[in-house]
């Protein structure tokens, strides 16, 4: 086996197809509302950015997972095309967050790959997360029944998005080294505090993601199925209580069961989403030829139905397949990791992203009640984009750590074999 076998096999054809997809999308948009120069520039710059990241980063850091990098960036590109078609101003803002997200992803990659600095940041991250959630409760703004935004005049921030990342980091750090109840008390209290504060914000989508991520990481770390089952039972009981307490939860369950009860009222959004997906059919109506803007918040929660309407269900299914590949690669990293810290980080990041994707895609196609979360990498939203990129950084950091360990062991194995032959 040659040393290059350890690196990723060529994915240049995939990269080329992804670049062509993005370039064609933006080129079409350049002529959509008369001639527009901005999509023309994006038709060149977005594929270049995709190629630069895939080729340069892979060359500089051969242990980065090239598939995860390609897929996440392609999803961002498709999201930008859909957004530009819906609202060009928001698409340009999202482009800014995408650029920022790439930097944030790189920073997180190196933090995770090195690991030591992360341990020192544990307490500040915990305090900052709880502080931000508390501040949201005090001065936050309500949106769709949930009080989960802080308006900082220039931009609005959704702290619960970043708390997901903090939870994954702190849980992996503590559960990888500590076992007794007393040792796990701080991180347990932190997780419980976060979940409670998000419940008080009535942001039930984020509650579900945070709680189930904590439970999964805990179960993977300890194999304590009794406590994990108890946690699931608590979640079920908690959901029943929240259903009785919050009006908007009852409304969402009701429109999930039968949106046709109120086609012009609360059921309007989901009905329009279903009509959009159905009218697109397998091949879609064509970019710019549908009317995805009829669906309220199509640019954020309902972007998947907007994509299905104009690109078709086939493209929608391919996007879901890309998510599945991304999550499978993440879980594979967890299985290859030598230290439980890296394995737990990977499991946490994948669980959080996968739950989020399942909840929003399931909500949009009326498989589960709507929870108002965003589609990772695709939906409009700065906080969502940055938190998804941070999760991506976690996976890449684990990939570098695992790859370096594999390579050094493999070299040693080769040297040993050669010595034996000699």
């Amino acid at each position: 086996m040659r040393s290059k076998d350890l690196k990723m096999p060529e994915t240049d054809w995939v990269l080329l197809a992804m670049a062509l997809f993005e370039a064609t999308g933006f080129l079409l948009l350049a002529f959509f509302r008369g001639f527009d120069i901005v999509p023309m520039i994006l038709a060149v710059s977005m594929p270049l950015l995709l190629a630069a990241q895939a080729l340069l980063l892979r060359r500089a850091y051969p242990h980065m997972d090239g598939y995860i990098l390609l897929i996440a960036n392609f999803l961002c590109g498709v999201g930008l095309i859909a957004l530009y078609r819906l609202d060009p101003d928001r698409a340009l803002k999202q482009l800014l967050f995408y650029g920022l997200g790439v930097l944030v992803m790189l920073a997180m990659t190196f933090l995770v790959a090195r690991g030591t600095l992360l341990r020192r940041l544990r307490l500040p991250v915990m305090l900052l997360s709880l502080g931000a959630l508390l501040l949201t409760l005090l001065i936050g703004e309500e949106n769709g029944g949930a009080k989960n935004w802080i308006d900082l005049k220039i931009i609005s921030v959704q702290p619960s998005e970043f708390v997901k990342v903090a939870l994954v980091l702190c849980l992996a750090l503590d559960l990888s080294e500590k076992r007794t109840v007393r040792q796990l008390l701080p991180v347990g209290l932190f997780a419980a505090g976060c979940v409670l504060l998000i419940v008080l914000q009535k942001d039930l989508g984020a509650v579900l993601i945070c709680f189930l991520t904590c439970l999964t990481v805990y179960y993977v770390a300890t194999s304590n199925w009794l406590l994990a089952l108890f946690g699931l039972a608590c979640a079920a009981a908690g959901s029943a209580v929240l259903y009785r307490l919050f009006d908007h939860v009852r409304t969402r369950v009701a429109i999930w069961q039968n949106p046709w009860d109120s086609p012009q009222g609360s059921g309007y959004q989901i009905i329009q989403s279903l009509i959009a997906i159905a009218s697109g059919g397998l091949t879609g109506l064509g970019l710019g030829l549908g009317s995805p803007d009829v669906v309220p918040v199509a640019e954020s929660d309902f972007i998947f139905s907007a994509i299905c309407e104009e690109f078709g269900i086939v493209v929608g299914l391919v996007l879901l397949l890309l998510y599945v590949i991304l999550f499978a690669r993440g879980l594979l990293l967890a299985m290859r990791a030598r230290s439980s810290f890296h394995a737990l980080l990977s499991v946490g990041a994948v669980t959080s992203l996968a739950l989020q994707t399942f909840m929003i895609v399931g909500g949009v196609i009326k498989m589960v009640p709507l929870t108002g979360v965003t589609l990772p990498f695709v939906s409009y939203g700065g906080s969502s984009m940055l938190s998804s990129m941070l999760m991506l950084g976690i996976l890449q950091g684990v990939s570098i750590a695992v790859g370096q360990q594999d390579e050094s062991e493999w070299r040693l194995a080769r040297a040993r074999e050669e010595a034996q032959e000699f």
């Binding site: 086996m1 439980s340 040693l412």
Partner: protein, 156 residues
């Protein structure tokens, strides 16, 4: 470009998008499966050739006198040691906690991390947070005393 020309172009482009999406999906699935096979081969080659260090705990003494002296406990990767059934190395001893300590092989030696208030001594020093043990080190876990043996795998 007038509206009807754009409509024609967009209608045709949707087949192009579908072709590209399907191409991406098929190539990625094939490449990921191929990559998984390569990774599996590398892992197998590493484990067959033996790359790391074999760590073994050799029991020197047991204060209860129930365990046989000289009994070997292999340590693989990251290992939990304790009296609970969920531990990787389970030792039935009243002086051990459920999960007593975590052992992990590192480049410099064996990292020993006591769990909670567990009593752990490495080379005569009580360990509070973590310690590094080397070949020949004495490790005391509760009332059990071990000698650490580090050997290169498949030693020539």
């Amino acid at each position: 470009m007038n509206a009807s020309a754009y409509e024609l172009l967009a209608s045709l482009a949707r087949y192009w998008f579908i072709a590209l999406a399907l191409f991406i999906a098929v190539r990625l699935v094939v490449a990921v499966l191929r990559e998984m096979r390569i990774e599996w081969r590398v892992q197998r080659e590493i484990s067959e050739a033996g790359t790391g260090i074999n760590a073994t705990l050799v029991l020197l003494s047991d204060e209860d006198g129930r365990l046989r002296r000289g009994k070997l406990y292999p340590v693989e990767g990251e290992t939990t040691v304790g009296a609970a059934p969920r531990c990787d190395v389970r030792i039935s001893s009243r002086s051990l906690r459920g999960v007593h300590c975590i052992l992990a092989m590192e480049r410099e030696g064996l990292r020993v991390v006591p769990v909670g208030e567990a009593f752990v001594v490495v080379d005569g020093e009580v360990v509070e947070r973590r310690a590094l043990a080397h070949d020949g080190s004495t490790i005391q876990l509760g009332g059990l005393v071990f000698r650490l043996r580090l050997e290169e795998e498949n030693a020539l």
